[in-house]
Amino acid sequence: MGLQVENLTVYYQTLKGNVQALENASFNVADGEIMGLAGESGCGKTTLGHSLVYLNQPMKFIGGRVLLNDQDMPIADMEAMNDFRLKQISIIPQYAMNALNPTRKIGKMTAELLESKKVSFKIIKAELERRLDLVKLPREVLNMYPIELSGGMKQRMVMVLSTLLNPALLIADEITSALDVASQKAVAEMLVEFRDQQCCNSAIVITHDISILYQIADSILIMYAGQLAERASTDAIIHSPRHPYTKMLISSLPKVGVRYEEKKLSGIPGKPPLLLNPPRGCRFKERCPLAFEKCDQVPPFEEIAPGHFVACWKESAKNAQA
């Protein structure tokens, strides 16, 4: 049960060639789990999140398989996916502030969306109102246009709308990055509340802000340059990371619980490689203090401890010895 992703590879088509934004990703998200997905900008975390629900141009499906509750998701087929969107997989996009049609009243838009998906708005209205209460939005918002709502209100409205049909998996893309610190905490807590109330079964929270994940995520997946680097429980990632990149990432944080800016990652020497023509093998090797000749081959994403996966030859070797 839950989400299983197997060898998912998604590229971006450009005139200069394919940008290899997501390479061979395999991982699971358990029932009821909130998984954080973190990494520098351009590491492929948004590509991963979006490809699960809305794999549109210029993204291109290359290979792999996605199972949700043991059911195959036709993620490469834009039309066939429509049956699963919102009902099975849903997304709170990064642009939540502009996500609502500016010229329709919010309630009317919701009704039209649901009716178009053969769901009766009348039946669901009571639940919708209950959820508005849950996120502390007045019920009158249904009679308002998006422009009459503040940014934070629009964000919460989108949260309610995206989860209205209790999807099995919710993808939350940078939902806190546009907000001030106080609202960030509130929105993050609402997400946990949503999961607890079964508004969504499990969730993937994409962010570059690890401190938020520390508060709400059960586990964290770290990506680097289109490859999965490390996946473990939140505690393990924060306190005992194994991948050299995760170690540098965590240690570059001033202090756990303090928000870090992407720019501060310049604390790690070097830059991520360009994904148009990435280096062979481990993509972190050029910045990695531990790199050796074996790193020219792609390291396997290996389970070195229960629930702790790492893609690093050094760690694999240690594991093999142990």
Binding site: Q13, T14, L15, Q57, P58
Partner: protein, 285 residues
């Protein structure tokens, strides 16, 4: 280095864009015709060259008018006039629009309010009607006069667009930096803001160019064009007045209108192509 690379990339996309290629080639063909045309015909536009109306022949490629004038000679010289009006009128419209828009957007405050009001007023005025009333009172109308006046009424939408662009550009980091380092406003505009708008200005100019050609043709057709030159609009005017339709002299009225349609249409398509080159978002994958 970065700049050079960017330029090469633009050029690369420009060469690959079909719309741009088709548009530019068509416009160029007509430009060449306008330049060399007067040298390959033996006649002056208003010369009497043959008796009565004659259909197209090897001697008179586009036939002759009721007055025995060579239509091809009139056509090429009208085409030349068309391009000059387009460049002068379109250039004038772009220039005024850019000046007003820059000033309003960059200075802001009451100056912006005033210029904005002026822009909106000229915007609602039907410019051709004003041109008609001005031209009607003039006994002698020059070519330059027509171009300049067309430009004087065509600028408002340019000013509006440039103003909005300047607003957004002047709040960007690099302009702030220049201002903090004590650069003079004019220098900031020339060195920091203008280069970022060059591509946009080219698009604006092309649209103004096409618009000026259409306006001039309309004015010429009413009979209020330049009194001393032949133009494509005037050819159509003469054709209608002197019964070319009833006499079935299609060679008299088809070429001038067709040329305008093709040139302006090609300009519009060039504009779309250029837009795709400049805006990566619009590029086809």
């Amino acid at each position: 280095m970065q700049q050079l690379k960017k330029k090469n990339e633009m050029l690369y996309f420009a060469m690959r864009n079909t719309k741009l290629r088709i548009g530019v080639i068509i416009v160029l063909i007509f430009v060449i015709l306008a330049i060399i045309g007067p040298y390959i015909t033996h006649y002056k536009p208003r010369d009497y060259v043959a008796p009565g109306p004659q259909p197209p022949s090897s001697e008179f490629w586009f036939g002759t008018t009721s007055f025995g004038e060579d239509v091809f000679s009139q056509f090429v010289s009208g085409l030349r006039a068309t391009f000059i009006v387009g460049i002068l009128g379109g250039g004038m419209g772009t220039l005024i629009g850019v000046l007003v828009g820059f000033t309003a957007g960059y200075r802001g405050g009451w100056l912006d309010e005033t210029l904005n009001m002026l822009t909106n007023i000229v915007l609602v005025v039907p410019s051709l009607v004003v041109l008609i009333i001005i031209a009607a009172y003039l006994e002698v109308r020059g070519f330059l006069f027509e171009s300049v006046f067309i430009g004087c009424f065509a600028w408002p939408w340019v000013a509006r667009a440039i103003r909005a662009q300047t607003f957004s550009l002047r709040t960007r980091d690099f302009v702030d930096l220049a201002r903090l380092s004590g650069m003079k406003p004019l220098k900031i505009i020339i060195t920091e803001i203008a280069p970022n708008m060059m591509s946009y200005l080219l698009l604006v100019f092309i649209l103004q160019f096409g618009g000026a050609i259409l306006t001039a043709a309309t004015l010429d057709f009413i009979g209020l064009g330049p009194t001393n030159t032949v133009s494509l609009g005037l050819m159509m005017n003469n054709a209608v007045i002197y019964g070319a339709l009833l006499l079935g002299m299609w060679w008299w009225f088809i070429p001038p209108g067709l040329a305008i349609t093709i040139v302006v249409g090609a300009l519009y398509i060039t504009n779309v192509g250029l837009d795709e080159v400049f805006n990566p978002r619009l590029r086809e994958m």
